[in-house]
Symmetry: C2
Amino acid sequence: MSDWLPLSPAERSVAIEVLVHGPLSRTELARRLDLSQGSLTRLTKPLIESGLLVEAPWAGAQAEARQGRPSQPLDVVAESRSFLGFKITDEMVYGVVTSLRSDIVARLDRPLTGHDPGYVADLVAEMTAELADRHPTVAGIGIGVGGFVRAHAVVGESPYLRWRDVPLAQLVRERTGLPVVVENDVAALVEAETWFGAGRGLDRFVVLTIGAGIGYGLVLGGRRVPYAEEDRGFGLHWIIDPQGPLTPQGERGSAVSLLTVPSIRYQVRAATGRDASYEEILAGAAAGEPMAARVIGEAGRALGVLLAQIANFAMPQKILLAGEGVGLMDVAGDEVWDAVRSHRHPLAAPIGLETKVSDFHDWARGAAVLAIQVLVLGAAGG
Amino acid sequence: MSDWLPLSPAERSVAIEVLVHGPLSRTELARRLDLSQGSLTRLTKPLIESGLLVEAPWAGAQAEARQGRPSQPLDVVAESRSFLGFKITDEMVYGVVTSLRSDIVARLDRPLTGHDPGYVADLVAEMTAELADRHPTVAGIGIGVGGFVRAHAVVGESPYLRWRDVPLAQLVRERTGLPVVVENDVAALVEAETWFGAGRGLDRFVVLTIGAGIGYGLVLGGRRVPYAEEDRGFGLHWIIDPQGPLTPQGERGSAVSLLTVPSIRYQVRAATGRDASYEEILAGAAAGEPMAARVIGEAGRALGVLLAQIANFAMPQKILLAGEGVGLMDVAGDEVWDAVRSHRHPLAAPIGLETKVSDFHDWARGAAVLAIQVLVLGAAGG
DNA sequence: GGGATTACTTTTGCGGCGGAAGAATCTCGG
DNA sequence: CCGAGATTCTTCCGCCGCAAAAGTAATCCC
């Protein structure tokens, strides 16, 4: 249980394989990673000595009684280190403590009353102290922010925080003494889902998030595709219907104007004069209120078009629909699938769609996964 | 000038770097490939001895007189081996002879009067004999076919040839004694453009072809993304306008129905009763003939939508528009760009578009490039 | 011609890998 | 209960490929 060693590339691939794909025997690892059995003995030894891996008995089902010497499963010691993940929104900071496997073991939220970088860093440090008090094995911190992030450290541009070139990783590190990884929030969520969630083991995978904005993440060949222009505040640079509605947040007929939670609330408010919550609007649409039904129906069709386009051009094996606005699928599912059908070839493969009701703690968990990737395993997170 | 040795991974990367990025000195190669200078001496020696590389004087412009010992450029011996590339269409076989650099040095076409695999292989072997007679250094054959190809060898499914599981590589190899690589025609063209053409050195790159069908190829991280479902005869599984025209080739409002050469000719014929060539239709549209202008205008808008979608979701640095139908851009460029504008965010980066008037010999050249990749360099072409 | 500068080559040593042989641990069948 | 067979893991050895460093070569500048 000494300190984490810097891992060689081969050790790293072993550690990642075990971490992501559960307990595996040395022989199985050798097969998956295309290495000899001898190499696996050599590679796993320091990982076990350092406390990252452990030889654990098979858990129930997999303990098949076969001939020959039984295989010895290796597993990560999920609790040996904790990680903190933070998601910074306009007016809140959401924090979680996770295990090495990214299971959330604690939560803590705080309102954000200002956007000064120093103040935000102070708040994060405060929350870190509080969380680390109860979980003393914290090994690192991951922070997700909406906007453009450079080198896992500097917030190049974040429109809603009104930041430019803020060295957030350094600020938090100075206050906590812990290693810090900063990443775009969507990118972090995509990495988390690719490693531990809906995209585990998939080659081509898309994450689409609907919430305050629109997020889009593409995984090809098992790796997230980094986009320089990604998420600079425009959501997707994407006009679905040039004659569509115009909202303060987005261009006329854009995905942002049609689909995001604030835009839908704005449209209903503009039409009815009443301010309703997103849930109320969804319930109203389901109950047949005309204005709500119209706005939600239009949103559903827009989402269908979006899904069809993604399926056509990126051909993912699965699309994960996440964020605070996925309730749309429950109410307007028919409109979504109608639009998908009318924008795809009838013989095209059906879209593998998975929806995930996610809250801000899932975003924070994504940031924690980034920290795991970068800090423990030294993976080039993109 | 002995036979090609099987290359080690490091030798391969050196050979590819020199082949694709022109003459390079050893020091420059060491920098690009992140290897020591000593390794480069070691790696280049067998490549020079085998005749693949040669030390050549700098060609003019690059011969900067700097201080110190002048660098010694290494270049591939482009003429040391020739490659044959074939593109098999419905009614023709197009053949080219290329150098290692994929420059076309000869052409030969033959009509295809049947689709029996044995007959097609015979014809390719005949053309090979004729071409190899004049170019005795032929090292391999690449064949591009529309349809789904497995393992660089077997045509899994080709609708227009009405083939299923035809081991074309084996058939041609038996008749010629030369190594043969078979690949989907679009994939081959994409590889060729990625290595030697518009996509050279780019990280994110898209090829869109308009001709008898629609082709779409995506390059991310400098590598072509392989799609299992790609090009099984549907073109893009993609409906642009659910109320659009219906043609025999494609679904209503699909990219195939709106954009391909046969579909455009069909639409004009159905509307006017006269059978006109694609060029005549373009000229007519330019001259203001109503029906031609309507069909071509609609095609232009469809192309604009298509380009906008691709730019939105794949965010390539460049889109190459190729095929026999690119003349559309000259006549309907305004409609294309109007549609692009109305389907993209106004602040989104402009699309880097390159059009390439290409004929069937370019497709054959793409197949030859595949042969170079697989046979000489052992590159995993995907 | 001498020094500086840059490019390439040779030598040396080390780390990581595969392969082969051996040890460990199980089942099965007598 | 014991041995044969099966399977997993470990140990050991040798090779390959790399980096590092020192040496050699070719040029420019003064």
